[in-house]
């Protein structure tokens, strides 16, 4: 492997960036190898079952490796400094998802016109574009479009409600696309902007003995939320509603530091949960299937019990990719993909996948932790919340830990909209992890920026020699280091916050 980056100075900027991103390269190469082994397993089992070998069977793997290469090179060329572990983990998860979909027959190499093959490269391209477009603090500009995000969110649901068609109890757009998946990004953007702008007022719960939430400040948010909830419930998209509501709660808490929002949220959630169970029959059915699965094993709980049967068959190590019979579990490729992994890779495979998700979340939360921009931090927290809640609801539902909500597993489940949304989310987080050299709006954050720049410059002589300072000096480049104080001042004059 390309280890031990040699000393610097004479190297061109590209080489510096190339060396700076060697951990990412290392991880990407191993991801590709691992996923490649997985592909061999699937293809081999198909061959053993009597399918003639076909070189085109390796096409998805080629697409995957090519995507990783392009991604890595782009990041190097752009002298991108963002989180390498995050990129690596994402690459593995996305590859794992591709593998799982390929195994389920969701990706066909014999018909190049099908969109499934292009989802992963498309998503990665979209992620890169977003990341490059928004990095170096440009994402802060998204906060200006606060009401646009709100409008887009509502419009997406409304349009879908009018033009979509019903399928399996939910509403889909054309070709079973679920545009409402995008809400997971737009709503988070709106919330981040809103909370960042009104943070102070939202955090003011009064000086009285009994603290009460600032209703006036919450009013616009509450109106938006009521509208959104109404539209979502009309669509019967319970899962999305749950994800977004919990995200709202967490973002308000992080943005204001008021634990009261969590308590308030818990109260509202119990009330909403009760109402939903009263009104929606399919909610009741799912709770019944969760509490007493053997009451109606061939009806309500058929899917979940089939999933669990598959997992039991898999045992600790699994049957091997391509060896199981996931087709016995209804809709295995989307909501129940985790059961397939349990069946074919066993409990160990499941645990490994969960570990990768946890690493992923720890990195996105780490970015939030290290980001000084309040807006950026809120975006990170919001998107992490969405993804984590989504994963937990999916895995919990499949394993019967909690009632089934019919939510997809990010990056793994079948579903273009979900996958694309995941990549968009990650593009944003990566852009934020690149750091924001400039501060545009918030005057109060200027000292912070100054402190950071001083911290940064003082970092160099602080003993850690060569390698790290090299990376910093060359990678972040002059603008990153020199700009902060200057940039802040300049922006302030042109655009008063």
């Amino acid at each position: 492997m390309q280890s031990n980056p040699p000393s610097r100075s004479t190297m061109p900027a590209f080489m510096d960036a190339w060396l700076a991103r060697w951990p990412e390269r290392q991880i990407l190469i191993w991801s590709a190898l691992t996923i490649g082994l997985g592909f061999l397993m699937v293809i081999g089992s198909g061959y053993a079952d009597g399918h003639p070998p076909d070189a085109r069977a390796l096409l998805p793997l080629g697409v995957y490796v090519l995507s990783l290469t392009v991604m890595h090179l782009t990041l190097v060329l752009a002298r991108f400094q963002g989180d390498q572990i995050l990129v690596g983990t994402l690459a593995f998860l996305a590859g794992f998802g591709l593998l799982a979909q390929y195994r389920m027959g969701g990706i066909r190499f014999d018909d190049l016109a099908r969109p499934d093959l292009y989802l992963l490269p498309g998503g990665i391209l979209l992620m890169l574009t977003l990341c490059l477009a928004l990095m170096r603090g440009r994402y802060e500009r998204l906060a200006d479009w606060m009401w646009i995000w709100a409008g887009v969110s509502l419009a997406l649901v409304a349009v879908l409600l009018v033009f979509g068609h019903r399928y399996r109890g939910a509403v889909y757009g054309a070709g079973l696309i679920t545009p409402t998946e995008l809400l997971k990004v737009t709503v988070v953007l709106f919330l981040a902007a809103f909370i960042e702008r009104h943070g102070k007022r939202l955090g003011n719960w009064g000086q009285t003995a009994i603290p009460r939430p600032p209703l006036r400040a919450l009013l616009p948010l509450a109106l938006f939320w009521i509208l959104l909830t109404g539209l979502l419930l009309l669509q019967r998209d319970l899962g999305l509603f749950v994800v977004l509501s919990m995200t709202l709660m967490l973002m308000l808490f992080v943005g204001t530091g008021r634990a009261g929002y969590l308590i308030l949220g818990a109260l509202l959630a119990s009330a909403a949960g009760y109402l939903v169970l009263e009104v929606f029959s399919h909610g009741q059915r799912r709770v019944a299937a969760w509490l007493s699965p053997f009451e109606d094993p061939t009806g309500n709980s058929w899917q979940i019990l089939q999933g669990l049967s598959g997992m039991y068959s898999g045992g600790l190590w699994g049957e091997g990719f391509g060896e199981g019979h996931p087709e016995y579990t209804p809709i295995a490729q989307s909501d129940f993909i985790y059961a397939v992994i349990g069946e074919e890779l066993g409990f160990v495979g499941c645990a490994l996948l969960v570990v990768f998700f946890l690493i992923f979340f720890s990195r996105t939360l780490g970015v939030a932790d290290q980001t000084r921009s309040g807006f950026g931090r809120l975006i990170c927290v919001g998107l992490t919340s969405v993804l984590a809640i989504q994963s937990f609801l999916n895995l919990g539902g499949v394993t019967k830990f909690i009632p089934l909500t019919g939510i997809t597993l990010p990056f793994i489940s079948h579903g273009g909209s979900s996958l694309i949304t995941g990549f968009i989310s990650l593009g944003l987080i990566l852009a934020i992890s690149e750091g924001s050299p400039t501060r545009r709006r918030h005057t109060q954050s200027t000292p912070k920026t100054n402190r950071r720049s001083s911290q940064r410059t003082s970092n160099n002589p602080k003993g850690k020699p060569s390698k790290k300072s090299t990376k910093k000096g060359s990678g972040a480049n002059s603008s990153a280091i020199v700009a902060p104080a200057k940039g802040c001042g300049k922006k302030k004059t042109t655009r008063p916050g």
């Binding site: 089939q306 039991y312 490994l352 911290q455």
Partner: protein, 526 residues
């Protein structure tokens, strides 16, 4: 790309790929861990560690989820309903649930009563003795579920809930090794297969039940109910078409019968407890509480009438004599003398109107009913007289009569009946005082030496007992015998019921005699 490969090689190649895949993922994890320092975001502000708490919460949530998942995926054999679901509805051939070598069910000497065998790629549950043991063993069948011990001990039989450390070790080896044919654990019963077969054979084509137990520790040696069903051939026919012979009914533990004269030992015990030590005049003409009701008479009266001769009656007799002769008049009078409250109290003390649990797990329990004592109105003296001779509305199960007899044999204490060898012996309740039990035992011995059960008196074994001929509103009288042996330090207590077979002394008593003799001979060897 794929080289031409012999599909026969695939299994080993697959295994290698499988292992390599996991190794690669583990290596990737290791790399992520090692590279995390070098990939720190040093251009950003220093981490404040604010993400530690949410990360901890996330880890706990997902960790809990994985643990819960393991309770299905790895130790699913602890969930019998789940196993049953998979055996019935899962089409994956490699699902271990289809291949569980369910533990065998053995009798006390290790004879196999039920076992699993793979026949042409499917695992079947087989019962070598057919219907003989089904009242205890029950059946286990994917479509119709399980009953009896097969249901109650299903987790144990499926290999779950190991009893000791080595059992857990075995379970762990099965999980880690991905064993496709997991082995369950054997279950040893207290039954004696030979004796049970003998009991069933002796009842033959008739209907009846036999319960033979050890009064000292509660071991049930025989629990037979005839006719029964063949657990090898369970079909919907069995459940849909009600067979008048009721093969699904466990006559021994659930069948309710009028006890007839065998109940006189209970009435005798009750009276002795209350200090009765008197004689009662028993005229040949019989006894009734009111001229509106037919007279209760002794069987000698009817015999004489049949022969055309005249019987002079017992005259004034004591309890020993009355029990030996099975005098209805004596006990009817005695019952009325004792009164309602005495019966109620004694019924409560001897666990009448109860279900006794023989073995219990979260997945079911094996129980026996005791009986049904009618709630008589305080003015109903005739009802009391009928109750005292084991007729009228009083109903008991054969298992209860065995338990009552065992209590007499064991100095008044009823041991909890045991079917599972590993269950510890336990006292259930004290039915009567030691003194009462001793006196009653002597009286019951007299029944065999000079009373109604003279026919089974045997120089080789000192049997004590009581016959019963219970009038049955639906047809012929039921033939009963309850007893224990040897009279000194009893080790066996028995209740035999043959439906509609007439005199207890003629049918039930010989069966009991033969079983007691055989059982005693086997005990001698141990």
């Amino acid at each position: 790309m794929t080289p031409p490969l012999d599909p026969a090689l695939w299994p080993s190649l697959r295994l290698a790929l499988h292992i390599f895949f996991f190794m690669a993922v583990f290596f990737l994890l290791k790399q992520l861990f090692e590279l995390r320092d070098q990939a720190q975001l040093r251009h950003l502000a220093k981490p404040k560690g604010a993400f530690r708490v949410p990360m901890l919460i996330l880890t706990l949530l997902f960790g809990g989820l994985l643990i819960y998942q393991a309770s299905w995926q790895l130790t699913g054999m602890l969930r019998p309903q789940f196993i049953a679901f998979m055996q019935l509805h899962d089409r994956r051939e490699f699902n271990p649930a289809h291949w569980i070598q369910r533990g065998r069910i053995l009798d006390r000497n290790g004879e196999v009563l039920a076992y699993s065998e793979e026949i042409q790629g499917k695992v079947y549950r087989l019962y070598p003795d057919g219907p003989v043991f089904s009242p205890v063993v029950g059946y286990s069948q994917p479509r119709f579920g399980a009953t009896g011990m097969e249901a109650v001990a299903t987790v144990h039989l499926n290999g779950g809930a190991p009893a000791d450390l080595s059992g857990w070790g075995e379970l762990g080896r099965q999980i880690v090794g991905g064993v496709q044919r997991p082995r369950g654990q054997d279950l040893r019963l207290t039954l004696d297969a030979e004796l049970q077969r003998m009991a069933v054979a002796r009842i033959g084509q008739r209907r009846g039940a036999v319960v033979l137990m050890n009064p000292n520790n509660g071991d049930i040696l025989v629990l037979a109910s005839v006719p029964s069903y063949d657990p090898n051939r369970i079909s919907s026919e069995l459940f849909l078409n009600p067979d008048p012979s009721a093969p699904l009914l466990n006559r021994a533990t659930q069948g309710l019968y009028p006890p007839g004269s065998t109940f006189k030992i209970a009435v005798a015990a009750m009276a002795l407890e209350r200090g009765f030590n008197d004689t009662i005049d028993c005229p040949a003409d019989g006894y009734t509480t009111s001229s509106r009701y037919p007279k209760i008479r002794d069987h000698e009266y009817y015999n004489a009438k049949k022969r055309g001769s005249i019987w002079r009656g017992h005259g004034r007799i004591d309890m020993t004599h009355a029990l030996a002769r099975s005098s209805n008049v004596f006990f009817a009078k005695l019952g009325v003398l004792e009164g309602h409250q005495a019966f109620r109290n004694f019924g409560k003390r001897t666990l009448m109107d109860r279900q006794i649990t023989l073995h219990q797990t979260p997945y079911g329990s094996y129980r026996m009913r005791t009986g049904q004592m009618p709630r008589l109105s305080p003015k109903d003296r005739y009802g009391l007289a009928q109750l005292a001779i084991g007729q009228g509305a009083l109903l008991v199960t054969p298992a209860y009569m065995a338990l009552l007899t065992a209590a007499v044999a064991d100095q008044g204490v009823a041991a909890r009946p045991r079917l599972i060898d590993k269950d510890p012996p336990q006292a259930l309740a004290r039915f009567m005082s030691k003194d009462t039990a001793d006196r009653l035992a002597v009286m019951m011995r007299t029944v065999v030496t000079e009373g109604t059960a003279r026919g089974i008196d045997d120089p080789n074994l000192s049997i004590a007992g009581k016959t019963g001929t219970a009038q049955n509103p639906q047809g012929d009288s039921h033939s009963w015998f309850v007893g224990f042996a040897p009279t000194q330090r009893p080790t066996l207590a028995i209740a035999v019921l043959v439906e509609g077979a007439g005199y207890g002394s003629a049918v039930a008593a010989p069966i009991a005699h033969d079983l007691l003799l055989a059982a005693r001979a086997k005990q001698g060897f141990h």
